[in-house]
Amino acid sequence: MRGQEARDQAERKAAMATLAQSSGDDIVRLWNEAGLPSQAELLRGPETGLVTLRGRIGGGGAPFNVGEATVTRATVRLPSGQVGHCYALGRDKQKAKLAAIADALWQDPARRTEVETRLIGPLRSALATAQEKRRAETAATKVDFFTMVRGED
């Protein structure tokens, strides 16, 4: 795979991950603010199903099945021909459809920058802020050990 193609795939995956982790409400709000087009042909879904979550024995050993999670997926085609996909945890069908359209728009070179700056960027920074807050709150509960001095004097 050429370097550019690999970079594109990594960026597309990162955008899809941001969409999957964001709430449907946030996506709809930013979508409307950005005035992104939402006309697209639904090729599949949106439909909800199950994905069986796998862990590894001991954390890093052989895989085993832990349990299932609800996942909603959608596939769309834009009037301009790009096909977009979404798989996201939960049962939010509107979110899955919009995220699939976003994925399709992202693949259109004329639209990518707009999708990145108006939609993915703000979602990503909101997620990063929330993550940083969580990390800092957890860090405040870190135990600092002090060596006890024997009280002989």
């Binding site: 795939q9 994905v51 862990g55 052989a62 085993f64 807050k133 969580r134 509960t141």
Partner: protein
Amino acid sequence: MYVAVKGGEAAIRNAHSLLADRRRGDRSVPALRLDQIVEQLALGVDRVMSEGSLYDLELAALAIVQARGDMIEAIFLVRAYRTTLPRFGYSNPIDTGAMLVERRVSATYKDLPGGQLLGPTFDYTHRLLDPELAAGANVAAPLRRETEAQAMPRVSAILAREGLIEPDGEMPQDHVPGDITREPLEFPMARDIRLQALSRGDEGFLLALGYSTQRGYARNHPFVGEIRIGEVELELDVPELPFAAPLGTVRVTECQMVNQFKGSAKAPPQFTRGYGLVFGQSERKAMAMALCDRALRASELGEDIIAAAQDEEFVISHSDNVQATGFVEHLKLPHYVDFQAELDLVRRMRAEYEARKNPAKVDEKREAAE
């Protein structure tokens, strides 16, 4: 003789509407919203997800309300719902080492990379009921400490360097992980299948069994190598994408139990391990699971099977609370015909018993009748 009957439709209908009424309770009290349950009864939601074996916060919250807070009933509802959905596939195995950690403690190492992070724990609370909570007092925002994000390797990786601890559990190269939702249980079973059953097993049952190992029934000297709680990313390989589809994040609890082991004919003295991995923040369950996992490895490690917690068929066959409650609770459904037959049998046996015990009296009776 018993004649087949039917009936009860109206009674059942009315009972269900009475249930709906009692579930709602006093109408002057505001109805619970699902987001209130998700936010404020979060660990109950986590238990329903883990034993219902379905990660979906809102569905678990709905199940809790619908079941009036009866957790096993809620778990039952979630299990039933699962069967209505198609299956998209198996995720790639999660990487707990890359977790966004919300709690992480080790009882074996004081200074470990990333440190001891207590997180939102009940540990060290005084277990005093809080009247302020009852009065609905405002809660202050938690403190923050700004630090560089630190890598937090699993403790098992640290212990492994000395070679005194067994590695993460491996299976043969071509082994496909078993799935108890697709194939019936068969004994003896591989460790991967056992772990799937334990992860959805009843917390109380596994807790009691884990406790029994500590009290000496298959003692295996456990230490909590590490407990970590936090969010991990989930990915699914799909044919339509050239990379794994990112699905979002799920919260899980992982417990690495480390057990002193004096060695056997099959394995040298070392630290052996038990593993627990559970949906949500479910620390007690993850610990109990890890204790049971280790106890159930008795035959693999060449230990004598002397206690209930080591008996795979006993533990796994009885760990599922939906199955258990189904079989126990079915006893209250009409058994009129069965009981009639048994009644007849017991009457006859009793008559024979009386006859053996007191033959004269029976003869007298017979004569009198004649």
